[in-house]
């Protein structure tokens, strides 16, 4: 059975169709032309997209090679062997153990420098001797003292490997051009001769730069490390998670399930979205005014840093949590309510576990963002020179990106490679956090 189609009839009557009047060849031609045009456009779009991605990857590769080529040499540290006889009488107490008081008063640096100069008996005169001293790290004495206090048996050893100064380190790594006129070089001609002598005696070596991973900041690049900054960052992030995660999840649940629809709720919602895009320095100012100014909390403390960054990440996590709660089908909640669960039970025991992977992903991304933040920390005094590794959340501390910022602003050339290495470490942390987010999503995500 068939019905006449009234519309077709009307159309045919009113509108003349040019394609219908064409011959089959003409029609084919027209189609192929327009088809070609569409294909060409598609190709252009594809090429433009490809070009954009290539450009982005190109920049990334340039950036990474630059960071890597500047930074990998910081994994090694030059050392020089010096014959040192530690005068036991001046360090040991009556009981034969190390007397900390005496050890503290003893001029360790003088001992190291004097022993080093003993290897060059021909060098006389104040300025030559000073130039000779400059080849050895200013911290060599302190590090020798620490090593001996830790392992008193070393006191009988007659030769020690101690760190060279950063200038020698830079020279041995080929970062000082010896072709420049002497006046413009940090290493002078006479120093080059001495370094050559040391090299011939096999008294110079490069070892893995453990100090970089076991020390906090130092003014001497050869003893500067990132441990303090990593511990500081870990404390800050811990505080951030403790504060931001529960608050954000509670806020999201309230807004999704309990908030009465109305102007106030809309207002709160708009504000949360706005807060997510507020520049981070503003949160730093808030922290300075409220936490430091009003509550008199300590300056430079990871506790305050964590609280400020928690405020900053709060909106991100709220938005992610709300999205993942909404992604859970209403049937789950309806079923829970249907069998007599309370609204709280339905939200906490049924919806939340299913939304957890999404919440975690959002949290990790928010936290990764907080890990890379320096601006708010400037205001609360966490951008500072701090030598001691923090042991509690109220101790002064820096964070990893702050350490990079401080080193990159230091005059000494050797800090340049160290900041590049620190950037690599920060990137490794960021990449692993993002990978964890991807993994959690893949592993626990439920499809409906």
């Amino acid at each position: 059975m068939s019905w006449p189609c009234p519309y077709l009839g009307v159309q045919e009557a009113v509108i003349s169709n040019p394609i219908k009047d064409m011959s089959a060849d003409e029609r084919l031609h027209l189609i192929s032309v327009s088809l070609n045009k569409r294909h060409r456009k598609e190709k252009q779009l594809k090429l433009a997209g490809l070009a954009a991605i290539t450009l982005a990857i190109g920049f990334l590769v340039v950036l990474m090679t630059n960071i890597f080529s500047n930074g990998y040499t910081a994994l090694l540290q030059s050392e020089v062997r010096i014959d040192i006889n530690v005068p036991k009488a001046e360090i040991l107490g009556a009981d034969g153990a190390i007397d900390i008081q005496k050890s503290q008063a003893f001029n360790w640096n003088g001992l190291v420098k004097k022993s080093f100069r003993a290897g060059f008996p021909d060098v006389k005169g104040m300025s030559d001797r000073r130039m000779l001293n400059d080849l050895v790290s200013e911290n060599a004495g302190y590090e020798l003292r620490q090593a001996i206090e830790k392992d008193p048996s070393l006191i009988d050893q007659s030769s020690f490997w101690v760190k060279t100064s950063d200038d020698v380190d830079m020279l041995l790594k080929g970062r000082i051009k010896t072709t420049l006129p002497e006046k413009l070089r940090r290493i002078k001609d006479s120093q080059l001769v001495w370094i050559n002598q040391l090299e011939q005696k096999n008294d110079l070596r490069k070892v893995f730069n453990t100090a970089f991973f076991t020390n906090a900041d130092s003014r001497e690049p050869e003893s500067a490390g990132i441990l303090g900054a990593i511990v500081g960052s870990a404390m800050v992030l811990m505080i951030t998670i403790i504060i931001a995660l529960p608050l954000a999840v509670m806020a999201a649940i309230y807004l999704e399930y309990f908030a009465p629809p109305g102007r106030l709720t809309d207002f709160i919602e708009v504000n949360i979205n706005n807060l997510a895009s507020v520049p981070s320095i503003v949160f730093g100012l808030l922290g300075l005014a409220i936490f430091l100014g009003f509550f008199n909390m300590p300056r430079s403390a990871p506790l305050v840093g964590g609280m400020v960054l928690a405020l900053m990440t709060l909106p991100t996590i709220i938005i992610a949590t709300r999205a993942s709660i909404r992604a859970v089908p209403t049937s789950i909640r309806d079923a829970a309510l249907g069998v007599g669960a309370s609204r709280m039970q339905a939200a906490l025991d049924h919806v939340l576990p299913l939304a957890a992977p999404g919440i975690l992903t959002g949290t990790i991304i928010g936290i990764a963002q907080a890990l890379g933040e320096t601006a708010p920390l400037i205001m609360i005094g966490m951008v500072a020179f701090i030598v001691d590794v923090p042991t509690s959340v109220t101790d002064p501390a820096t964070a990893l990106p702050v350490q990079i910022f401080i080193w990159s602003d230091s005059a000494e050339r050797a800090f340049y490679e160290r900041s590049s290495l620190a950037i690599m470490v920060l990137l490794i942390f960021l990449i692993s956090m993002n990978l964890l987010a991807v993994f959690l999503r893949k592993r626990f995500e439920k499809r409906w």
Partner: protein, 340 residues
């Protein structure tokens, strides 16, 4: 329920916040020019004194003064570094908050007016630097009439600057016909204040113009952050640019940048010590009197800073670029401390 743990954690962290804390390390803020020296002393002090290592922040001189003068108590810093003397306004603020302080001169520094080693070294006068930087000049600098109306600086090349300075009765420096582009520190920086006080104002006065610290804002003077390394990087990348920073940065980067000779005086340590170099200036730090004896190690730290082994000619601050005081000056600094 798991949420009770979260709430417990929250309560715990807020109770921590309420804890009044006793600070057992010195807190130092202030100038980014003094920062490298203060950190060296701090580290040495931490290694040898048995006290905790002081915490040093680089906030700029102005920022440091604001924090320092905020009040008395552990939440306020104990010492602020300054690359210029305290301003009357800042001293008033200190007084209003009951902060009494001792001023110590840590040593001398010189403003380097530098460009890349690859470019030609300039030999100019403070008037050249001043006219290149000034916001307004008679007829914008396009006249030889001193009394012409002051208009925004229209000089675009160093040769024009030279021509204008000569027309005003200054010395000729044979500057190249290269565009003017100068990087300066931000207004919060003491180095910026020193630039105004040592180069711009006297430079304009010498050739009989109205003294002003205002710098031009037409893009030829570029304001940088408190980051001298960045200025060095930019100078290397663009040999036509100039930058203003402290002597210690010049010392560490002699293989990249060179300082211009100003008023016929080379920038080196002797000329800073003798104050022959027009950009020579003292560096300060200010100590909160009320905190001495309250914060552990305050007195010891200050004594370490002004000691011969730190500030002296053979001291460890000299290789870092701090030009030592004369013996009498050092003695008077030590006297200021022992009075308290």
């Amino acid at each position: 329920m798991r949420f009770s743990y979260f709430i417990a954690g929250l309560a715990l962290s807020s109770s921590l916040a309420g804890l009044a804390h006793a600070r057992d390390q010195i807190s130092i803020v202030g100038s980014s020019t003094v920062y490298p020296f203060a950190t060296i002393v701090a580290e040495k002090f931490g290694q040898t004194s048995g006290f905790k290592t002081p915490v040093v922040e680089s906030t700029g001189t102005g920022g440091g003064m604001k924090l320092f003068c905020g009040g008395i108590g552990v939440q306020y810093p104990d010492i602020t570094n300054a690359s210029r003397a305290i301003k009357p306004k800042e001293a008033d603020n200190c007084a209003a908050n009951g902060v009494e302080f001792i001023e110590i001169i840590a040593g001398n520094d010189g403003l380097a007016f530098s460009n890349s080693l690859e470019a030609e070294a300039l030999n100019l006068s403070v008037s050249h630097i001043a006219t290149a930087l000034a916001a307004e000049l008679p007829a914008g600098g396009m006249t030889n009439n001193k009394d012409a109306e002051y208009q925004p600086n229209a000089l675009t090349t160093w040769a024009e600057v030279d021509q204008f300075v000569t027309a005003m009765g200054g010395s000729k420096a044979n500057l190249p016909a290269k565009p003017i582009s100068i990087m300066v520190p931000p207004p919060t920086s003491g180095t910026r204040d020193a630039l105004g006080a040592l180069f711009v104002e006297p430079g304009l006065e010498v050739i009989g113009l109205q003294a002003s610290e205002e710098l031009r804002e037409d893009g030829r003077v570029i304001e940088m952050g408190e980051n001298d390394s960045l200025i060095i990087e930019k100078l290397v990348a663009d040999p036509s640019m100039f930058g203003v920073f402290g002597y210690s940065f010049l010392e560490q980067n002699r293989d990249k940048v060179q300082a211009s000779v100003v008023n016929g005086v080379e920038l080196n340590f002797e000329n800073i010590a003798s104050y022959d170099y027009p950009g020579a200036r003292p560096l300060f730090f200010y100590i909160k009197s009320a905190h001495i004896g309250v914060i552990p190690g305050m007195k010891d730290f200050i004594e370490e800073f002004v000691s011969e082994k730190a500030m002296g000619l053979d001291g460890y601050l000299f290789p870092a670029g701090l030009v030592p005081l004369t013996d009498e000056e050092t003695a008077s600094q030590i006297a200021k401390i022992s009075d308290n």
